[in-house]
């Protein structure tokens, strides 16, 4: 187990190099002086000088990349063009909000998606299955910015039950969390359904039935436990993608997270902000994938025995 985690961590290193090199190349590819793509022209001369020393044109490309890594190690993601604040500070303030939203929507999506997927699989081919499947296809096909706006129109503007936008307690959290949960519910339904159907067809379920175990016993003990493995994977991956900032949902509801921050960067062409959010979002994403891999390894004995090179 320990060896597995260490090997996984080591495998992450080339990935980190690849990712930072990609963001570095993106910064270099932006129009204009790359130094200003990191700090903006309004920064103090000392800071501009410091950045230029690290990634300036008098160094080779490899040297510039090294300088870029050095800046990142110091927590220097750049400064906003407009506010001149450190991008890393802003992200630190906004990230907890993004986290709250991500976890809240997963809290809605996970039980609902698994439950509906389970029902659909048990009633395979029936009316309930077809209805749930259709709903889940609609769920992954609706743009979140649209479903979010419609929810806002209904619950905030017409029924006046919830505030239309802003960051705050549960009343503010509810609508964006529901919006964000819709595609996750849909994905979870699909995955749970397929997994459960697969398990129902395996011999060990037939054996359990032959032994005289009740239907509900089979459902909970045999099917549910085995179905949880891929489902946990999907929950982790979806959570990972929400944690990198639900750009569209946060924007619609004015939720003060890194997704909306990225959006502000995009509309104002504030490159340091966009690149900072891209980098941090990606790091969070691969970190979540790493955790998912480890959990997967931990809960599934089969992977531990012969799938060690996953």
């Amino acid at each position: 187990m320990k060896g597995f985690i260490i090997r996984k961590l080591l495998l992450t290193i080339p990935l980190l190099v690849g990712i930072t090199f990609t963001t570095f190349s993106l910064i270099k590819a932006l129009p204009g002086d790359p130094v200003y793509s990191i700090v903006g022209e309004r920064s103090s001369p000392e800071i501009i000088e410091k950045i230029r020393k690290e990634i300036g044109p008098d160094k080779s490309i490899v040297g510039q990349y090294g300088g870029y890594i050095k800046l990142l190690m110091q927590g220097e993601l750049g400064r906003s063009y407009f506010t001149n604040r450190r991008v890393s500070d802003e992200i630190r303030v906004k990230f907890p909000n993004t986290m709250r939203l991500a976890f809240a929507s997963m809290l809605i999506a996970a039980p609902l998606g698994v439950f509906l997927g389970f029902i659909a699989a048990k009633k395979r081919g029936g009316a309930a299955d077809r209805l749930i499947t259709l709903l889940s296809v609609s769920g992954i096909s609706m743009p979140v910015f649209w479903s979010g706006l419609l929810l806002m129109l209904l619950f905030s503007l017409r029924l006046k039950l919830l505030p239309p936008s802003g960051t705050g307690g549960i009343r503010y959290l509810l609508l964006p969390a529901i919006t964000l949960s819709l595609p996750a519910i849909a994905t979870l339904v699909r995955v749970t359904r397929v997994t459960v159907i697969d398990i129902m067809d395996t011999p060990f379920i037939r054996t359990a039935r032959a032994k005289g175990i009740t239907e509900s016993g089979i459902s909970t003990i045999h099917i549910f436990k085995n179905a949880m493995i891929p489902v946990i994977t999907i929950i982790g991956l979806e959570l990972g993608s929400y944690l990198n900032g639900a750009v569209l949902t946060e924007t619609i509801f004015g939720w003060n997270g890194i997704g909306r921050y990225a959006m502000e960067g995009i509309t104002k062409r504030d490159y340091p902000v966009v690149m900072g959010c891209l980098l941090v979002g990606t790091l969070v994403f691969i970190f979540m994938n790493l955790i998912v891999d480890i959990i997967y390894h931990y809960v599934d004995p089969r992977v531990r025995v012969h799938g060690t090179d996953r």
Binding site: G18, T23, V137, P143, I266, T267
Partner: protein, 269 residues
């Protein structure tokens, strides 16, 4: 193909035909500003109402549909071609080629897709081609990964063995023997991917990274009418319906093909 597959492909063809025939169907110029008819609700003259500049929404939906759908389809075509080529070479070639190509695939897949698409679009600047490039640059990787896996499973089968012992060259085996086997898998992925691309394209244009205004796309229409959601909900409602219906149809088509060819794709992709 089952009934849902037929219905969804029928609806897709219908949407595409209507978009292509837009000039024959609606008498309005999609970009013509009409200050006398601002934000009118659906009526006999303007079937789906007008927007905040008095432009006919139906006209903009149809003209915009042509752009949104063709961007997605072209991006699917590019990612499919790239994914097939790289997946085949990587899977059949094995060894160092495989290691290099797949670590590149891993790198792309380790980025959150939408954020990476945003990053690429920002650099290329707004425009239709930008969206196409951004979608394909991000999307080919999962194609390649799946094709490679499939090729690996085919590689050991008897017919490839036979071809090799008959003295077929690698390129002949890849092009004549392996490629046709991969087509069904590629079609299934294309259907599912097209649904995703419609949404991503809409998302990018919603963020202002798509086609330049005043050109209509479904995403940018929603973005522009956000502030009028309370007074003129139809401005938001109809473009969203178009996006959702199109994406649903592509997804159902992908599912139907999956069933027809009996292909399993593990994990959502």
């Amino acid at each position: 193909m089952g009934l849902t597959g037929k219905i969804s492909s029928g609806v897709l063809v219908l949407i595409l035909l209507l978009s292509l025939a837009a000039p024959l169907i609606v008498p309005f110029d999609p970009d013509a500003i009409d200050l006398d008819s601002l934000r009118q609700p659906p009526s006999a003259k303007h079937l789906l109402g007008t927007d905040n500049k008095g432009r006919d929404i139906l006209a903009r939906l149809l003209y915009g549909g042509k752009i949104s759908i063709s961007i997605s389809l072209f991006a699917v075509l590019i990612s499919m071609t790239l994914g097939l080529a790289i997946g085949l070479v990587s899977g059949y070639g094995g060894g160092k080629i495989d290691a290099v190509l797949m670590s590149f695939v891993d790198l792309i897949l380790s980025f959150p897709a939408f954020l990476l698409a945003i990053g690429i679009s920002i650099i290329l600047g707004e425009g239709i081609h930008t969206v196409m490039v951004a979608l394909s640059a991000v999307g080919w990787a999962s194609f390649a990964r799946l094709v490679r896996g499939y090729v690996l499973s085919l590689k050991e089968s008897a017919f490839i063995e036979a071809a090799r012992s008959l003295g077929c060259s690698s390129s002949r085996i890849i092009l004549v023997h392996l490629l046709p086997q991969c087509i069904p898998l590629a079609l299934v992925m294309a259907g599912l991917k097209a649904g995703g691309y419609i949404l991503t394209e809409a998302g990018l244009s919603f963020l202002g990274l798509g086609a330049t205004p005043p050109t209509a796309t479904w995403g940018s229409m929603i973005s522009a009418s956000r502030v009028f959601i309370n007074s003129a909900p139809w401005m938001v409602f109809f473009p969203g319906i178009m996006i959702a219906v199109t994406a649903v149809c592509f997804n159902l088509l992908g599912d139907a093909l999956k069933e027809k060819y009996d292909i399993r794709i593990d994990r959502e992709f």
